[in-house]
Subunit: 307 residues, 2 copies
C-alpha cells in the first residue's frame, strides 16, 4: 500500500550524558521513513537537502527501502541543521543551533510516481507546506496523519488550524495538546482538538506513553520501561513512522488496528532511544520488532477475572 512521507532530512549534532555526535543524519522525514520502512516498502519520501548532504546517507536510505525520487538536492545550499543537548533526566533538552537553510523556502514537489498514495504522513513542517502537499495530490489519500509542534502554535496558529482541519489523525505531545486547546485535562483537550477536524488524535507523553482518541473511545499505549535512554532524538517521529507504516502495511484503519499501530509505533520508538540518532533503526531486524510488540502485550494485557 503506497505510503508518502513528507518531512525534514537533516544534519543533527547531539550531546547526551552518554556521549556526543558531531554531524549525523536526522530530521523528522528520516526517522519517520526509516521506521515506516520496517513495515512497508517503498516509502516514498518528499524532502530537501543541500549539496553538503552525504551521498552515503542517501544510499543508506535507499538501501532501507526508501524511495528518494522526491528528495530534492539543492547543490548550492546547505542542509537543515539542528543541534541540541540533553540533560541528565533526558526529559529536558536545550536547542543549541537551528539553521533552516534549504528548509526555509521548501517547495514540496510531488513526483508523478508518488501520486495516488493511499497513506500520507506529514512530518513536522510549516503548516502551509503540509497543506500544499495535500493540495498537490490528485486524489485524497485514504488516511492523512499529521505531526506538528508548539513552534507553529506560537507563530502560525491560523495556518496550523487550517491544516489540522484537513487531516484524519493529528499527533502531538501533551504540552502541545494543552497549548492548542487551552485545556489542562487531556480528555477535554482531545475533545476540543477533534472538534477542529481530525477524527483521531494521538497525544504523545514521552516516557509516559501515548493516548489515542477517537470519538468517545480512548486507547492507551505505555512506553516500555527501559534501563537506559541513550538519546531521545527522533523518538516521536519514529513512533509516527511505525504507526503509519503499520497501518499502510495492513491497509486497515479500524480502531482495533489503530491500537496495534500505536503499539507498533511505541515499539519502534523504544528501539530508537537505545542508540544515537538513527543508529538503532538502521540495524534493526524484523524479528526484533515482533518480539518487542509481545513485550508490550506482557506489559499491559491482563485478564479482568481469575481463570
Amino acid at each position: 500500500m503506497s505510503l508518502l512521507v513528507v518531512g525534514s532530512v537533516a544534519f543533527d549534532a547531539l550531546e547526551t550524558p552518554f556521549g556526543k555526535r558531531e554531524k549525523i543524519i536526522g530530521g523528522a522525514g528520516t526517522f519517520i521513513s526509516l521506521s515506516a520502512a520496517h513495515f512497508v516498502q517503498p516509502v516514498n519520501l518528499v524532502s530537501v537537502v543541500g549539496g553538503d548532504f552525504l551521498k552515503s546517507d542517501i544510499a543508506m536510505l535507499q538501501s532501507k527501502g526508501i524511495n528518494v525520487d522526491g528528495l530534492q538536492i539543492k547543490e548550492n545550499e546547505k542542509s537543515f541543521f539542528w543541534s541540541g543537548r540533553y540533560f541528565n533526566d533526558m526529559n529536558s533538552r536545550e536547542t543549541l543551533v537551528t539553521e533552516l537553510n534549504v528548509l526555509g523556502d521548501f517547495d514540496p514537489i510531488i513526483p508523478e510516481s508518488y501520486q495516488d498514495c493511499k497513506y500520507l504522513m506529514l512530518g513536522n513542517l510549516a503548516p502551509q507546506v503540509q497543506r500544499q502537499v495535500i493540495e498537490r495530490l490528485t486524489n485524497r489519500p485514504k488516511l492523512i496523519v499529521m505531526d506538528t509542534m508548539n513552534f507553529w502554535m506560537d507563530i502560525a496558529l491560523d495556518d496550523l488550524i487550517q491544516t489540522i482541519g484537513m487531516v484524519d489523525v493529528l499527533s502531538i505531545n501533551d504540552e502541545e495538546a494543552r497549548q492548542l486547546s487551552g485545556e489542562y485535562s487531556l480528555v477535554k483537550a482531545a475533545k476540543k482538538i477533534m472538534g477542529m477536524g481530525p477524527k483521531y488524535l494521538i497525544i504523545k507523553k514521552g516516557e509516559h506513553g501515548a493516548l489515542l482518541f477517537h470519538g468517545e473511545e480512548v486507547f492507551f499505549a505505555p512506553a516500555l520501561p527501559l534501563e537506559e535512554v541513550f538519546d531521545p532524538t527522533g523518538a516521536g517521529d519514529t513512533f509516527a513512522g511505525g504507526f503509519i507504516g503499520y497501518l499502510a502495511s495492513t491497509d486497515d484503519i479500524s480502531f482495533d488496528n489503530m491500537k496495534r499501530a500505536v503499539i507498533n509505533g511505541s515499539a519502534m520508538a523504544s528501539f530508537c532511544v537505545e542508540q544515537f540518532g538513527t543508529e538503532r533503526l538502521v540495524d534493526l531486524q524484523p524479528d526484533e520488532v515482533v518480539t518487542r510488540v509481545l513485550e508490550f502485550v506482557k506489559l499491559v494485557n491482563f485478564q479482568p477475572q481469575q481463570a
Copy 2:
C-alpha cells in the same frame, strides 16, 4: 480472608481549584480501609485518634465494614491534622499545616482478635511503628504490603531500610523510588529496591499510572484519563487499599492476580479523585467498580495480530 490495616486516621483541610473543605475525615488508614472494604470485610483497622474525632465518622467507618476495635481514642488529645492546597494542574500541592498530635507517640496495639491475619497493609507511618506491627503479630502474614514517603527517607533512612527488608510488597511513587535508589531509570531503581528485600515493588506515577515489578517481570497499569480531577488527596492510599483488598478477597498472590489487584487499585483511585476526600469512596457501589475495571480493559488491552 482477614486483612489488617495500619495507618493514620485524621482530619484534613483541603483547598483545590474546585472548592475547599474545612475539616473532613482523612488519613492513609481511612482511605486504605474504605477502599479495601469494597473487596473484603471486615477490614481490621489499627490506628489512633483524639477526643476531638467525630463519633459520626467512626460510625461511618463501621457501617462500611471496618472493624474499629483497634482504633485507639485518646480522649484528652487531638487527632492528626493535615492541611494542604492544590494548584491548577493538580500535580503540585503545598502543605499548609501538619500537626502530628496523637500520631506523635503512636503505639500500635494489636487487638487479640486481629491476630492470625493473612494480609497486612502498612500505611505510611514512621517505619519503626510499621516494624512494631510486624513484630507484634504472632504469625507472619501471608503477604505484607508497605507504603511509605520521602519524608522517612529524609529523616529515618536506616529505620526505613530495616522495615523495607521485612515486607513482601513496597509501594512508593516515582520520585521516592529515585530518591531511595539513587537511580533515575525506574527499571534500575526497581532492581536496587527489590535488592533491599521486597519481592514486589509498585511504583506509583500519579496521572501516569503505576508499575508493578517482580524479578524480571514488569506490569504497567495506566491511570484512567479523566475529564476532571477534583481532589487527588488519598489517591495513592486508595490505590493501595484496592490492591490489598482485591488480593485478600481472592486469596491469590500469583503475579497474574497481582496485575488484577493493581488494576482494581487504579480503578478505586480513579473514583477517589472525583470528589473531595472520602466522599466518592463512601457512596461508591460495587457494580461501579466492576464497570470501571472493564474501562481499564478497553483502555489498554489489544490483540497483537489482526483476527
